[in-house]
Symmetry: C2
Subunit: 113 residues, 2 copies
């Protein structure tokens, strides 16, 4: 969790969409996957996660359905829509752009003095 909230802000949606690209999943698993991927360096807070699901579903980027688990706690599965896929690629492109811009602005450049 060493990464501050404001730096990750705005990426939550894209991160979730990225995980749904290869197949349907449910909240708890997505969160686990993220922790694994970043070696515990970052975790979506549950409240953040579920807020994001609502937002993404309202936007038509994902849809959800209850799993038919015979055992264990019930799970709500999420699936990415074609629109969601498009959104993902658009958001990634935006990130690439933003990255360059931020990089430029954070530089400690001393040119001309």
């Amino acid at each position: 969790m060493s990464i501050t909230a404001d730096l990750i802000r705005g990426h939550t949606d894209t991160i979730i969409l990225a995980h749904l690209l290869h197949g349907n999943s449910y909240g708890y698993q997505i969160n686990k996957a993220i922790q694994d991927k970043t070696a515990g360096q970052y975790e979506l807070k549950e409240a953040t996660l579920y807020t994001a699901f609502r937002r993404l579903e309202a936007a038509g980027y994902i849809y959800s359905y209850w799993g038919d688990e015979m055992t264990g706690a019930r799970r709500r599965y999420y699936s990415i829509t074609p629109t969601g896929r498009e959104a993902y690629f658009r958001m990634r492109a935006e990130w690439e752009e933003a990255k360059t811009t931020i990089e430029k602005l954070l530089e400690d450049n001393d040119h001309g003095r």
Copy 2:
């Protein structure tokens, strides 16, 4: 301004500090410099800028003083403090880390399926 606010969020302070590294400056000029650097792709909104100045000053990262212009509108100059310098380098390091993390999480990786 093609870059969305949420992606830049949290970088405002670092951007300002970066600009003050090479010398004192005032709000209007800093904003102009940012627009030039990004070829108009991004501009800090004034309200954001001045909020940030207050925040940075309260944190002891910068201090301000009124310029003694004999002509033109009055200018409030800002100067970075040693603590501010430290903060800048720390924030840059955080950005480097965050970047890697975000990159990892946004990947469209299909490994293992």
